[in-house]
């Protein structure tokens, strides 16, 4: 499959590019994603709420932690292969 003529090398991202502390305010997409998750969390029974204060979510890393918790609550089931 791979021959010397069809292989394309891909550079790795810079080691310093990771920044989980990037302010959420800099990315309107994630900011809105968090708002949507918040809205969905509030529709869950109170005993299933995360207890996380929305105003405490200020960085991408914090947003990711919050989103993971609510996604697991919403998902509720294990993944199945291939949509089958």
């Amino acid at each position: 499959m791979a021959t010397p003529t069809n292989v394309v090398k891909i550079p790795k991202p810079s080691p310093g590019s990771f920044n989980k502390n990037r302010p959420l305010a800099k990315n309107t997409l994630i900011l809105n994603q968090v708002k949507h998750f918040r809205e969905m969390e509030m529709k869950l029974p109170p005993d299933q709420h995360t207890g996380i204060d929305g105003s405490s979510i200020q960085t991408e890393g914090q947003a990711a932690e919050y989103i993971a918790k609510v996604t697991k609550l919403l998902h509720g089931k294990t993944f199945t292969a291939g949509g089958k």
């Binding site: 090398k9 989980k20 994630i30 998750f37 949509g83």
Partner: protein
């Protein structure tokens, strides 16, 4: 029916974030004049009225900070600066002025005209040069992410031009519902639970079993378990994974690392490419949801209105919007060994043969390929062209198709 179409069993769509066609692929015009990219002479006036030329100075990160405004009112300025606004033909002259509005810094505002040279984007440009690149694929709405992605999922945004949650309105259903109702297999793969999906309010909340993860996509490719239709979402955040591993956002949304997105696109492509049965029976579409406020030189055309939906003036910052014109042009590449190398699908630059695609073309194509009911569908989806006719009769040998390796 072509041999390629006859062999097709899987459609995979990878939707990236917030980059315009010219920003990512515009420099390819120098390599292939049929690609409607940049001449290098395109300009926008800055706030001192000096013309600012496009420049090959785009960087992977730390340049488009703050996130360029791409909400409806800002995009209107980017498109119609110097005109009386719709229905005039977009001037494409307001990108620098719009970016200036955010920081009031003249020099910084020039960065919205920067574009990548092909050597910086080896994955995207290799795929564009080796398979089919669309000169005329436009965002569905001159606005932000959520409403544009809605067109890929539902063929409509149900009247939304904003980032707010929208309400799915009968009789229209997502392409996933339609596939399942027809007994077909389908999955949305998000990166992981910490990145999750942008379609949380409707799909994740109501149909969680539709979803899988990126790692599951990879194993489904290896094991031959890929569903007939797959939609992939990149990693939207820098976050830590299991064991504290640093997971870079791969969506290419400013200010995330563009190289990380390159790597992600390559892994999706390689996963399909490395399973011979999958490779010959799959069409992979790599497309961006919208332009992210970044310059493109092609005026978005008018389109069929998405009746009965009309966005109110309170959402547009101006007049009501009938969804009767498209958003800014975005990169779109269709990949299959059944596509001739160097295919360029003409767009609005070719009035005789050009074809105009938008995200409603995605459910329209899935509907056609898998013989789903054609009603009820949105007005925009019904009018959207499909793209699988690009698959031909000749399957290219492995040696003629690229393979990506991390260096």
């Amino acid at each position: 029916m072509s041999a390629g179409l006859d062999s097709l069993k899987h459609i995979v769509v990878l939707m990236m974030e917030n980059r315009s066609f010219d920003h990512m692929l515009g420099a390819l015009k120098a390599q292939n004049p049929r690609i409607n990219g940049l001449t290098g002479k395109e300009t926008n006036p800055d706030t001192t009225n000096e013309p600012v030329k496009v420049q090959p100075q785009a960087e992977f990160q730390s340049q488009l900070d703050p996130d360029p405004d791409h909400h409806f009112p800002a995009v209107n300025k980017q498109l119609f600066f110097g005109t009386n606004g719709p229905p005039a033909t977009p001037s494409m002259q307001g990108f620098v002025q719009s970016y200036f509005d955010q920081q009031k810094d003249v020099n910084h505002s020039h960065k919205i005209m920067y574009y990548f040279t092909p050597d910086k984007l080896p994955v995207l440009t290799t795929l564009a040069m080796n398979f089919a690149v669309f000169n005329g694929w436009f965002a569905s709405i001159p606005g932000p992410t959520i409403c544009n992605r809605a067109f890929a999922h539902y063929g409509t945004s149900f009247g939304s031009v904003t980032m707010d949650p929208f309400v799915v309105k009968a009789p229209f259903q997502s392409i996933y519902n339609r596939m399942q109702a027809a007994g077909r297999t389908v999955k949305l793969y998000y990166y992981d639970v910490a990145s999750s999906t942008m379609e949380v309010v409707n799909l994740l909340s109501n149909q969680p079993t539709l979803f899988g993860t990126y790692s599951q996509f990879l194993s489904d490719c290896t094991n031959g378990d890929l569903p007939e239709y797959s939609f992939i979402e990149p990693n939207y955040t820098d976050h830590e994974g299991d064991g504290g591993a640093e997971l870079l956002a791969s969506d290419q949304h400013p200010d995330h690392d563009v190289q990380s997105g390159e790597l992600f696109i390559a892994t999706i492509y390689n996963a399909i490419r490395q399973n011979p049965d999958l490779w010959k029976s799959t069409a992979l579409l790599v497309v961006y949801d919208e332009h992210g406020g970044i310059f493109d030189h092609v005026p978005p055309p008018a389109c069929v209105a998405d009746a009965p939906f009309v966005a109110p003036a309170s959402d547009t910052g101006g007049a009501p919007f009938a969804f009767d014109r498209l958003g800014v042009r975005v990169p779109a590449i269709l990949i299959s060994p059944w596509i001739a190398k160097g295919t360029v699908v003409p767009g609005t630059e070719d009035p005789a043969n050009g074809r105009v695609f938008e995200h409603a073309s995605i459910p329209a194509t899935v509907t056609k390929q898998f013989n789903l009911p054609t009603d009820p569908r949105s007005a925009r989806e019904k009018a959207a062209p499909t793209f699988l006719d690009l698959l031909g009769d000749t399957m290219r040998p492995d040696s003629d198709c690229p393979v990506f390796q991390e260096s």
